[in-house]
Symmetry: C3
Subunit: 351 residues, 3 copies
Amino acid sequence: MALSFTLAEIAARLGGEVRGDGTVRICGIGTLEHARPDQISFLTNSKYRSQLAGTQAGALILGEPDAEATSLPRLIVRNPYACFARVSALLNPLPEAAPGIHPAAVVADSARVDATASIAATAVVGAGAVIGAHSVIGEGCSIGENVVIGRNARLYPRVVVYHDCVIGDNLIAHSGVVIGSDGFGIAMDEGRWIKIQQIGRVVIGNDVEIGANTTIDRGALDDTVIEDGVKLDNQIQIAHNVRIGAHTAIAGCVGIAGSATIGKYCQIGGSAGILGHLQIADHTVISSFTLINKSIREPGNYTAIYPFSAMDDWRRNAVHLRHLDEMARRLKHLEKELQSLKQEPSKGENT
Amino acid sequence: MALSFTLAEIAARLGGEVRGDGTVRICGIGTLEHARPDQISFLTNSKYRSQLAGTQAGALILGEPDAEATSLPRLIVRNPYACFARVSALLNPLPEAAPGIHPAAVVADSARVDATASIAATAVVGAGAVIGAHSVIGEGCSIGENVVIGRNARLYPRVVVYHDCVIGDNLIAHSGVVIGSDGFGIAMDEGRWIKIQQIGRVVIGNDVEIGANTTIDRGALDDTVIEDGVKLDNQIQIAHNVRIGAHTAIAGCVGIAGSATIGKYCQIGGSAGILGHLQIADHTVISSFTLINKSIREPGNYTAIYPFSAMDDWRRNAVHLRHLDEMARRLKHLEKELQSLKQEPSKGENT
Amino acid sequence: MALSFTLAEIAARLGGEVRGDGTVRICGIGTLEHARPDQISFLTNSKYRSQLAGTQAGALILGEPDAEATSLPRLIVRNPYACFARVSALLNPLPEAAPGIHPAAVVADSARVDATASIAATAVVGAGAVIGAHSVIGEGCSIGENVVIGRNARLYPRVVVYHDCVIGDNLIAHSGVVIGSDGFGIAMDEGRWIKIQQIGRVVIGNDVEIGANTTIDRGALDDTVIEDGVKLDNQIQIAHNVRIGAHTAIAGCVGIAGSATIGKYCQIGGSAGILGHLQIADHTVISSFTLINKSIREPGNYTAIYPFSAMDDWRRNAVHLRHLDEMARRLKHLEKELQSLKQEPSKGENT
């Protein structure tokens, strides 16, 4: 919190061109509305340029098109939003966790925990597990047997990783995340479901973040795979044998059914769903609340939002959804009738 | 469980008018169908008055319109459902948790835990945290650094509260709740997502209840705010910088995206969704399974339920949804044609 | 992992007819695509028979129709998928947990834990709880007071069972499951919500599996009931007083509202929803993403999927959903007009 930098120091570290007074000292970041004079703020969309007028911020991060929209000290950059992210990280470094194993943690003798890693009170690390350098395992986490976690991981309290899963570097996993639980594999036989053992793993690349209470099931036979740079919000369900391509971002409450393959650089809106065994092309964008029930081969924006309305309007209109086919047939019939009426105008007269 | 009251004693404590034998002794509460003679039951809707006939209950809670619909001992009140809630609380007080810190809890030296509070085995309380009088922190809970929790809170096992969050009095948080996890803030830069530090807090008012496995993200810069008296069911996802107005009730599995502002006294049905940055007016009612994708300025009932049907009917009808615009144009065309046919009836004859 | 069986030994244990070399030794199971020569694979649908050609598997599980589609050693069975499940279980037995109570577990003196049961580090078992033979309670689990859990249960880390719930034999509960949290029962009175004590229990039969982070609320007055053989995927929400019939299977992210009664042998797709107080007939199949908002009396397949489309197409078409009633009225009007035009063709001429 006591960290501070001049605007010129920020530019020296993160790039960008200073205009105005580079000696202004910045110790925090804030919205245009709430930033104080010792804070820096930012404008990521020229559309909101008028909001610059009232800000109390001591400095601003701006793109080139807005460079002269204020006389405040400012940092002119190519990508103001990304610069804001970097300045925020500079000013708000995560607290360091003390290295070592807390006396109230339970770590198996055969686990290999790097000396720079931190294992919190009540965390449990199973036999044969490997925890990389500078990784932090929070309170109440459960790391199963033979799990491998890379460097610089941060597992917040109460993350569970089941046995044999493999995780790269820089993982951030929020509380309540479950990695490697059994996929939903059952076979009906003579009136009873038989469980199909789930013997695949979850394999997670580098630079992945997973939101609170998200679940990722292990594969049935082969693995479930989350590639590098994937960002998952809260309460997402990823079923067995799903593959999520690198740098895809998925918002909260999405469900992805078994063996679906999502491409790279996709964006999936909140509470969307993807059925099993589908393929989604790279760079596909899917709206909130949209069920994808067949494969998408072409990148683009896809949606299936039913527009909301006031209850009375809905009652009047929605009832027709069950009769659209009849409406379509009646419309076609009318067209034919009208056509014949135009072609044989005198026919009626003869009856 | 051994608690019992006469009907007259209940009336003395909670109000209402006794009719019939006030000395009947009540030690429990039950449905009309299952209540035993030592239990009290209730009728909250005159529509079901006929169900009174068969009940074995020893007494009843009734509204004025149903006061003479039975000869059983009865308590006549303005709001039978609220009275039922109060009688149930009277007869079924929560077990007291023993005050003090369990030897298997881990509490930082600098935490301030009221002497009347209870910290269960395997709970962890971080540096600088404050736990108010009579609050109960269940097994496996993780209370982050500098968290403030008011009086009479009850955190069931495995609740996580991240650092710096502030919670009022009388919180009930069920197992698996996560308060203060990072919001989903990422910025794309040259093919990679950069994380935006989430430096706001979650601030929760008084008298809030939060259901199992619900998640509430901390703010990006400013705070996420849950006002007094808000009631949240299970598995709700509340994103960063959301504000939920006082006394709003939200059913299970709802997702609320970032910076949405929900008014006071709203009711939101299960699995509904609200997109980011929207405003929802006070006293708005939203149906289950409804996505709200623009702000609601007028209170009322809003819905977007797609009516279900048998699969064959659905196949026949749903296909037309992708051609509604064409249908609308054909309909308009027909109307024009018919109009011109009516105006120039002899035109056809001349061709 | 070192387990292996000849094909003939597998047939002797699990049934089926061996064709080809029964002495081939099998130590694992794999997909047709990835199986190695010491693994067995399977074909569950004759449609994919052509995939048999390229497999490296050492043996195959096949149904009678495909019995001669390969010359590889093979096991011919009535139900190949169920046989695959049984072979997988034979080859991949769950690791045995060491019986006994870990020194870092916290077990109440009055709890009765079978000598063959296993209580892991940081698990907590409350007063009066009963844990049956060979049951495994994972790390960080919280078993409430007076809970009864039968034989052969396997609770993965961080499962919570609230007080008084009753669970049969062979439960599998994955991490983050919450059983017995309070139902969402509130009564409005003079501008404030009053909590309705939830004094029922959750009662679970035999052979039930519950996926990660699924929540099952206790009943308000009577119990919430999950019958024998029910299979629940991840992140399902089951509200108070729901009853789920035997051998029903429910996919991930489904929400079931209070007092709904689901029949036996139902199948419910991912992210579907069922409103409160409804009845669903035995053997009903409900699609993903479908809200059931009235009772289903006849078994069958039901759905309410809004078909997705490219954003531009959606914009053009979805707007008409709010005007379907007007379209229907205009269509009817046209039909009448056309009818009268056909019946009185000369009317126009007289004007």
